[in-house]
Symmetry: D2
Subunit: 289 residues, 4 copies
């Protein structure tokens, strides 16, 4: 994909496939002074659905930013009943991290953040434990300790929501956060909560996948990053990767081996989200890369 | 691992772990003139089980072949309640193939057989279709057409068993054989029927895994070879491998991509079986390599 | 990617990147009644080069097949100094296989051919040995035995060329053909000779890569399919894949493990070529998938 | 492999292969009250060399720690001209990190250290830049800024050596340290300096592997961790891993994708070293796992 200093607009589009869609879209951009720098288009033949990611340089584009969505909807989108998102490459997303005690994904995200690899703002971190408070604080990130019990879950989620709102959070990353979010909470952030599950979903959903993998005697273990939906571990999959194990590996070995997989797979998913490389259709992601 | 011209004996052993097992076994071989050419030992700490594959050159071994099992049981095995198998590297296993219409695994096995890569005898091929009869016959392998219906299944399995018996078959490979074997049949060949399943088990058991994988939107598909047990797709896993797919891949694409995976994963499993590289303990395989 | 019964045209294009290229091309197709079924476009930012693969349904296309290239060149290509290839999905390519003694890639290609997986015609097979003659002949494919010595190489290559010409061969696959083709020969078939090299190029070029890999103590071995150019093992890479090895693997083990890799990697490259999924620019392939 | 609270001794052994070695070693341990908890033995048939890693519980072992090496040499090692190393599982190795400006490997090692995943002491970090000083200091690790020029290299290496000596450093990790160490320095730490090279060696040695990979048009990039020897990028390989790239990936993309690979591959190598899982023979590593 591409990069950096350039100011560009990104459209993620899907609609029923019909003749002439590509030319209509490219014509809209071209005839208004936009130079296309990325175009990936794909038709799901089985479902008859058209998908596109298109990005263009805004330098000589004659429609002002705040009007692009309206113009596109009027001139193009409405004609094809398109569902589209418009993003700008120079707008930094604001990301919250939810974490419990396990540090590997958390440290990895913070290292990417600190080194400038992860192009986001992280104004707030929320945890049901205090173990990782120091790591948040030494980077000057607000840390909120909100322990969860069956009794206080509703109230604590309310506080979480307020924190997210007050910090203008765009999306949430669950970095091995060991609490199930309520449906209510999840529904407030559709396709904006990214989780890492420590198995190759749909194998081994639930809370002890490495134990299950060991019991079943699989020769490969995996990790899956996905958007969170109301149904546990069943949201649209963003990234998956795997690594070989053998009969020599105990559950403890799998946990250790899996850590590296989890952090890499989660980081890739966050990157796709941040770069607006993906859209969701019928619980499946379309990842442009 | 090892090889070829050399005449060697192979022991696959498991028992409860206790001090002194290794030295007792190696001493049995060594003091009787055997030179150890392969030794792999592993303790499953969680279960407290000892596993070993040991292979030694028979050239100067003083116990004659036909007596080795008895002597080992008396002098070593009974002391530790070992469960062991004894094999000889110069004995060719006799393998039957069951196949339906899909040729990729079948052709691949035959090519390995013809080129000498697969060190077995294949005296008989059984199919519920005639599509692949020509391929069997041009290699001079007996081919039996035994179509299966709900009504005749029992009788046909009886005929299959007679064929297997009359050809002294050691093990059976289901090369995408599209029939479920009866429990009766399966129980006659414990750890001697190898199947290839076209998914990364335990994800997507059953008959249409690529469709399910497509529906679930996974980013990786897999194949699994396993010993067949009475419970469908739940036998001990021998080999697994995976390959990346993307949103661009239709079910048809997955079928195509999966074919190469299936044939490689099945061939690896057959090789392990033929080389006596694996044993089964509590529905998990221990693969020495 | 796409498929089968549909009659479609495929354009593979590259040129200097300029604003408006995409819209010009899509407009040419759309305004003449073509329905775009595949479009993948990519700009190499570092070199400023535009690449595209575009495929459209010919059903309602108003320009007749034999005129499409001319019209496209006049109306679009010449404007941007495009270099383009035009292919039709219903034209079967004619492929020759060159092979020596090693059967694995050869058998694999024939199995794909026989099962209809490989959408080509194979009218002729050429070998410097007779070992594999029987396999060619039982499929009814002409087999020519042309042994090569230093002395007769020029003449034998002359005979090869005549055979290729008389069979209207479109491209050649070297299925572990253990002879170096002369520059002359290679230059006659630019980007039309596919080789499989048994290493992860550019590591270990030359004739004994597994020995070199063993000596160097690498932990991964690979295979590389590439177009043949005058410089040995330096042509544009089409596909690569790798597999893990360990200190336990001897050269012989690597040879065995590598076989499966070689056949899969070669088959993928042949498929890309046959499906017109790739173009070459500055000794690198652009593979659309 | 094994673990943790248990106090055990580890022997890494190699010598010319002869009959009876395994039994002699296991007998030495067994007859002195040691319980073998790990044994991996391997014969390099081509070279006729025997390799072993053996680990035993010290609880009831009758030879005291400080005498084990002497007794083993006298009773076993000298008989077979063995080269062996003896380690104890409860002795923490002392590791120094050399780093320049690139933070990814460095942050990753520190995160593993901080979370207790990496079982070492890190008393000192040395850098030719000050960029990462803050990260060292917030974990309370001594950081020394020793910039290198052609003129001062000798003196600065002298200072480095003094620091290493005064901190009793066992081994050094070059976490993308962008300076070539002098032969003198390297020879002082045989098999005790671990480097991460950002390519699949032996492809693309030297300083700009991602540029070379891009130019060559490879479809897979890799990373290699190895012990440093006098010959640049030619030391014994400990770990390698790879990831797929495509024509869409620029050099900058490869740099980004490669970062994750580098940190994982380096961490695995460090882990093997720390766990005494590897030995070196003829510039190749034998990795027991």
């Amino acid at each position: 994909m591409t990069d950096s200093a350039r100011k560009s607009a990104i459209l993620l589009i899907h609609c029923r496939d019909k003749p002439g869609i590509v030319v209509t879209i490219t014509d809209f951009i071209h005839s208004n002074g936009g130079n296309i720098i990325y175009l990936d288009q794909h038709v799901d033949i089985e479902r008859g659905i058209f998908f596109m990611r298109i990005e263009w340089d805004l330098q000589n584009f004659v429609i002002q930013r705040s009007k692009i969505a309206e113009y596109f909807e009027t001139l193009v989108g409405s004609r094809y009943q398109m569902i589209f998102q418009l993003h700008f490459s120079d707008t930094k997303l604001r990301m919250a991290i939810f974490v419990s005690k396990m540090p590997h994904c958390f440290y990895d995200l913070l290292a990417r953040y600190e080194s400038g690899e992860l192009n986001v703002e992280i104004p707030v971190i929320i945890s049901n434990h205090t173990d990782l408070q120091h790591a948040a604080e030494r980077l000057g990130i607000e840390f909120h300790y909100l322990p969860i019990t069956r009794e206080n879950k509703k109230q604590q989620e309310q506080k979480q929501k307020e924190l997210l709102k007050s910090h203008n959070i765009d999306f949430i990353v669950l970095a091995r956060y060991m609490q199930v979010l309520s449906d209510d909470f999840v529904n407030d952030y559709p396709q904006r909560i990214i989780n890492i599950h420590h198995s190759f979903l749909p194998a081994f959903p639930g809370s002890r996948p490495y134990h299950s993998a060991y019991e079943r005697g699989v020769k490969i273990i995996g990790a899956t990053s996905h958007y969170v939906t109301a149904e546990l571990d069943a949201g649209p999959i963003i990234e998956q990767d795997v690594v070989q194990v053998s009969h020599k590996d105990s559950v403890e070995d799998m946990v250790r081996i899996g850590r590296d997989l989890e952090k890499i797979v989660l980081a890739r998913a966050v990157r796709h989200h941040v770069h607006h490389d993906l859209l969701v259709y019928e619980n499946r992601t379309v990842v442009f890369e």
